[in-house]
């Protein structure tokens, strides 16, 4: 079949924060750069980031990148690579100032400097006392960031391909990445982007869970493509959860609700937090509350027909207090839970928020894989940044406001690395003759199949399986069953059927292709989580409890290592954590407590 070929120096898949940041580097270096996105760039999920971006500018009080580094290593529960963490924390000041020059409307102090606010986990002097490190633009930091960087790209002549979906990575016989296949949704046409550099910035895959704060767009397309092309996925067992998302919708109910007197109840209306945290009760830390909720649900004391949520009760509060102190909560409950919280409790569940793992990269944004005993062999022509990548700076848990920093620093460094490699002067490598065959065969199978599984049902099966078996609190028996079950669900995904066969604007086909990406992420998560027999950061197992020998259930002798999941045979291997920063001494292992 004759498939059109578009030749670019570089293609970037994804136009959220990381994609836009790396595109600036490439286009401003004069390279011919394409950015593919399923949606208009300013509608990327980066828009949902409100908290701010961490940088030790020291505008409000004394701060230092080494203190930021310490907080990040501690947050990661020592699973983060300390070379990448040093790189990121040191670069933070530079990328924030650059963003200011791009026109980002940061909040300012009276004397015109970027205003900095406190944020959970940001401390001065190696964990001593809180420090103001987060830079924000009101409550629309992500939104403002996307706009500033999109404008900069327009000026630099980046070519945007909007409402295009990337399908598969193209690798030649020597393993070099030479581009991607992609589909234009408006026409259904499949095209080859033939490139010298390919950067993935496709964001997270939070939609693998039934309850997720992630927008529908977060289907892990880059992770699916990488896995199908033989690239392992790193540390996929680590997902950050929030305790209270609206059951069935995922929309966040702020922790302020419990602060104002909200009470969690199980199916017999019992205030169950009294059993788990007799003193703090509903105000216990996020982890403790989420684990208690998961235990109640697992032990059959959940509410509703499927006993799969608990209730957040504020009916005893004065309605005037609810309206005044918790603005928006009543509207969210009415819109997404169908209940007025003044009269009825809100159904809530622990809800997936952020993916710590991803495509393995080094701190220069180059994708690395194990080869001949070297865990960090660069895949030529392939780069990744942002939530889809694992540098790894977040390790087992992410420090607040480091997500926007990650996409700025590693978006830029992936772009810089690509520029450096391209300036070394290599021409386009030859495209394999069958470059598009694999993608075309996938599409044809979806188009022609009769009597297969529905995309909607397959997605629900993935999400239910992940939520029940690999949620915020994990149980050995559930993980084991989860592995069997997700491999069953995979068979469903291999057998998808769509009713709409049209070529143009076929959203059913796009959703089927997304589901084929989701299942790769789901398998990687379930299998990696089952295999890691300790608790660390966001991966907490019932059978790895807090003991004097293993505080918080963490076992450094056996498990201070990164997981690598390979799609082929669902094989797991491990690689060492880099405890050696670039220029300073290591942040020594200790128990993580706040």
């Amino acid at each position: 079949m004759n498939i059109p070929v578009l030749k670019f120096d570089a293609v970037i898949v994804g136009a959220g924060g990381a994609g836009l940041r790396s595109a600036i580097q490439l286009s401003e270096a004069g390279l011919k750069t394409a950015v593919l996105s399923k949606v208009f760039p300013t509608r990327s999920h980066t828009v949902a980031a409100q908290g701010g971006v961490a940088a030790s500018l020291g505008n409000s009080e004394e701060d230092h990148w080494r203190w930021h580094m310490y907080d990040t290593v501690k947050g990661s529960d020592w699973l983060g690579d300390q070379d990448a963490i040093e790189f990121m924390c040191k670069k933070a000041v530079e990328v924030v100032v650059e963003l200011e020059h791009y026109g980002m409307p940061f909040d300012r102090t009276d004397n015109g400097k970027i205003y900095q606010r406190p944020f959970g986990g940001h401390m001065s002097n190696f964990g001593e006392k809180p420090v103001r490190r987060s830079c924000a633009a009101a409550d629309r930091t992500g939104h403002a960031m996307l706009h500033a960087m999109y404008q900069r790209n327009v000026k630099a002549n980046t070519q945007f391909f909007v409402e295009w979906m990337a399908l598969d990575l193209i690798r030649d016989s020597e393993g070099h990445v030479v581009g991607v296949t992609a589909m234009e949704m408006e026409t259904g046409q499949v095209v080859i982007f033939h490139t010298r550099a390919t950067i993935f910035a496709t964001g997270g895959a939070g939609r693998i869970y039934a309850s997720s704060t992630n927008a529908f767009i977060n289907t892990g397309d880059g992770l699916g493509m990488a896995a199908r092309a033989g690239i392992p996925l790193e540390d996929m067992e680590f997902w950050q959860f929030h305790p209270t998302g609206v059951a069935g919708a995922g929309v966040l109910i702020t922790e302020g609700v419990r602060g104002e007197g909200g009470i969690l109840r199980n199916s017999s209306k019992e205030r169950f937090m009294e059993r788990y945290a007799p003193n703090a009760k509903d105000l216990a830390s996020r982890d403790v509350v989420a684990r208690a909720m998961a235990t109640e649900i697992k032990e059959g004391r959940g509410c509703g027909p499927n006993k799969d949520y608990v209730l957040l009760d504020i009916t005893h509060l004065d309605p005037a207090t609810i309206m005044k102190r918790l603005p928006g909560i009543r509207e969210i409950s009415i819109q997404f839970a169908g209940v007025d919280p003044i009269k009825e409790p809100i159904p809530v569940v622990p809800t997936c928020h952020y993916q710590m793992g991803g495509i393995p990269t080094n701190y220069s944004g180059r994708v690395v894989v194990p080869e001949n005993g070297d865990y960090n062999t660069v895949v030529p022509g392939f780069y990744a940044a942002g939530e889809c990548a694992c540098a790894s700076v977040h390790g087992a848990n992410r420090l607040g406001t480091n997500s926007l920093l990650d996409l700025l620093v590693f978006g830029k460094s992936a772009g810089d690395s690509a520029v450096e490699d391209l300036k070394a002067g290599k021409a386009h490598r030859e495209l394999p003759k069958d470059a598009a065959d694999f993608s075309l065969a996938r599409i044809e199978a979806i188009n022609n199949r009769k009597g297969g599984a529905s995309v909607h049902e397959a997605r629900l099966a993935i999400q239910r399986t992940m939520q029940d078996h690999a949620g915020v609190f994990r149980f050995a028996d559930m993980l084991k069953k989860g592995v069997t079950q997700i491999l069953e669900v995979e068979k469903m995904v291999q057998n998808l059927e769509i009713k709409d066969k049209s070529l143009v604007w076929n959203t059913a086909r796009v959703e089927a292709l997304e589901t084929e990406n989701l299942i790769e992420v789901a398998k990687a998560t379930m299998i990696s989580a089952e295999a890691r027999k300790e608790s660390r950061g966001a991966h907490v197992r019932d059978d790895a409890p807090d003991t004097p020998e293993f505080p918080n259930g963490r076992n450094d002798q056996e498990w201070l290592k990164h997981t690598l999941w390979h799609r082929e045979g669902n094989k797991i291997e491990y690689k060492p954590v880099n405890l050696n920063p670039l220029t300073v001494e290591t942040v020594a292992l200790k128990t993580r407590s706040y």
């Binding site: 949606v39 509608r43 828009v47 704060t213 927008a215 929309v251 509207e331 959203t507």
Partner: protein
């Protein structure tokens, strides 16, 4: 609305930056859109072009719609 135009609009409703907007627009398309007049459907399509934060502020009642043509659709989105 023609199939092609509808499918394009559908994609622009079911893949947003904010989950809240995904949920509100998807539900509206599934439950309400077919019952609208052609002019109302056009007005909805115009609203769907708004930025995510702007749209969420309208839907959640944190802001009021100043365009008289679109305000009735915003009211329906709030109720749906």
């Amino acid at each position: 609305m023609q199939r092609e135009a509808y499918e394009r609009l559908r994609w622009r409703c079911i893949r947003r930056g904010l989950l809240e907007v995904d949920l509100a627009l998807t539900r509206f398309l599934d439950e309400t859109f077919d019952r609208l007049s052609e002019a109302e459907q056009q007005a909805f399509a115009e609203l769907a072009d708004y930025e995510d934060l702007e749209l969420w502020h309208l839907i959640s009642g944190q802001a009021e719609c100043e365009d008289a043509r679109l305000a009735p659709i915003v009211a329906m989105l709030r109720k749906s």
